[in-house]
Homo-oligomer: 346 residues x 2
């Protein structure tokens, strides 16, 4: 049967869908996806016409470790499997300088990666300079993306994005890593970035406040041309923007993605069945970490330490938000819990 | 500990939260909630300061039956338990004329119900005339709500709402029963209704397209003053607007609900643990029924009949949408499936 066409009122341009289900989703399964799982989803996404499929450890190239979690497969194995499955879609990887190195990039290039995203904290784009330069010189498409982007002003994000472009990024993007944005926040930031750079701008949402799809729509309406989304929202905590929801909503609004709806729904059903124990939902901790603007990866540590110290984990999250905690500052959780315990005794 | 205050930029008025977790959620558990479950959630919602708690069979008063599903408890038992738990919150019930009768209303009034919502298909408000009149004469707050409201134009909805007011409704509302709306659709409809009536206007969302929270925000921004939402989105299919997400988002935007955040999160955790096997998620069928604008209660029948006839259930949903099928027209499913099977043979 043909996929029914949803004729929109007006054509509003093309949106490039970037699908990190096999990378960001890895966070939800402790980086334990096997070759059969990667292949099944990558083949289905390829058949549906998803233009870019990202794969790897949740924290990107080179991140598999005792500290960040050992992945079931080595980077190289993951790339080999997915490369073979993607006959039409482009293959992307993610890397965080410090976790990933130039040696990791060389190996990914040998595996014919098409797109490399280099991520840094939103105010630290200079950490991406060397790797973006290396990729540019190697002739590989290099994108620069800013994590935890709600922690910087629109002006600062615009400045950091311009810097990423100066380093060789052919596209830039902002991640709503803690799922904190409401649509007006996204509009303001994407608008500022669009005024500062001439390259495509991407938005990567999380669903802690139930706004991932609405925020993504706000992003394209403000001029973003790439949207990240995962099958069933597969990702840590409340999950990412749900791919098979976002695409038909975009099409109904008159945007074009080039993706086949039924093929996409089939891919999402495969992801649901084969990749995840259950699709992400918004639990109370996800709501609080989104409101507080705290990295959701803190969740289990916050719950453990709060129980041990007899404090409310919600208070811990809000205080971490006030202290502007970022990933890597897990020690702050103990400080905050102890301070709250002391305050309770007063 | 005190609940952290989320000081908004500007105060934007009060929004009345109407919580049908114990009524719409019933659809997700085949109307099998027991007294202990009803009491646990109602007490928690009451403690959190949720102003209105609705209870009953998913299809409202008098609906428990072989056809619509036998509820575990009789209406009267449900109302007795919840009435006792709600020392501060108001108690609401829902009724669909035809399923519910004046005799059912009398019994609910004897159980001290505070608010009765009388629902009809969006173009059939005249079916509510007798019951709204009865309630007005009995001195009980009576609201008129329009189901499957995406099937009528904004102008038609405004006319139907004005009619509901003329029958005695002290508030009116529109339900996005199939989760079809995008925010602009809601804005247009609520605006038209607000221009036509002087009573409070309510919006009831479903999350098939991931837009329940965003649509609810669009509704209050267009002048709705009551929003329906359920703990964890507890409801049929993709679920309703998620209550404990909506409330802090409203507060962050400067609206006031009078609800305590931590109490609300506690209530949602109780709902998650005690009421539902798992929180609702947006599966592929939910996406398709939302896009098609078809009542999600058709799901299991559509899947069964499609399997039997060897047709794609997604095609069946889209064709049901084109034929404007409404609840009660389940026979159409067979007609559509047979027509699609014939078309495949040609």
């Amino acid at each position: 049967m043909n996929t029914p066409t949803h004729q929109p009122a007006d054509a509003r341009g093309h949106v490039l869908i970037h699908d990190p289900s096999l990378r960001d989703g890895h966070h939800a399964v402790r980086h334990q996806l096997g070759a059969g799982q990667l292949r099944a989803y990558a083949e289905a996404a390829n058949t549906a016409g998803v233009p870019v499929v990202e794969v790897g450890h949740g924290n990107g190239l080179g991140a598999s470790s005792l500290q960040a979690g050992q992945a079931l497969l080595a980077d190289d194995e993951m790339l080999a499997v997915v490369r073979e499955a993607l006959t039409d879609s482009r293959m992307a990887v993610f890397m965080l300088p410090g976790w990933g190195t130039t040696a990791d990039l060389r190996k990914a290039i040998a595996r014919q990666v098409d797109v490399v995203r280099v991520g840094t904290h939103c105010t630290e784009s200079d950490l991406a300079e060397r790797h973006l330069g290396f990729l540019r010189d190697a002739g590989v498409e290099a994108q620069g993306v800013l994590l935890m982007s709600h922690m910087a002003t629109p002006e600062r994000l615009a400045k950091e994005c311009a810097q990423l472009v100066s380093y060789g990024a052919s596209a830039v993007g902002i991640f709503d890593s803690s799922g904190h944005y409401l649509p007006a926040d996204v509009t303001e930031r994407i608008t500022a970035i669009r005024e500062a750079v001439d390259v495509p701008v991407a938005f990567h949402g999380h669903n802690n406040l139930g706004m991932a799809v609405a925020n993504s729509i706000a992003a394209v309406e403000a001029g973003a041309s790439t949207l990240d989304a995962c099958a069933r929202g597969f990702g840590a905590g409340a999950g990412n923007t749900q791919l098979e929801v976002l695409v038909p909503v975009l099409e109904r609004m008159g945007f074009r993605t080039g993706i086949d709806l039924y093929g996409l729904l089939d891919a999402a059903d495969i992801a649901d069945r084969e990749l995840m124990p259950a699709p992400p939902t918004i639990d109370s901790v996800a709501v609080v970490s989104g409101l507080a603007g705290v990295f959701s990866g803190f969740k289990s540590r916050v719950l453990d330490i709060s129980r041990r110290e007899g404090v409310d984990p919600r208070d811990v999250f809000f205080e971490l938000g006030r202290r502007q905690a970022v990933a890597g500052q897990e020690d702050l959780i103990v400080d905050v819990a102890l301070a709250l315990r002391e305050a309770q005794r007063d």
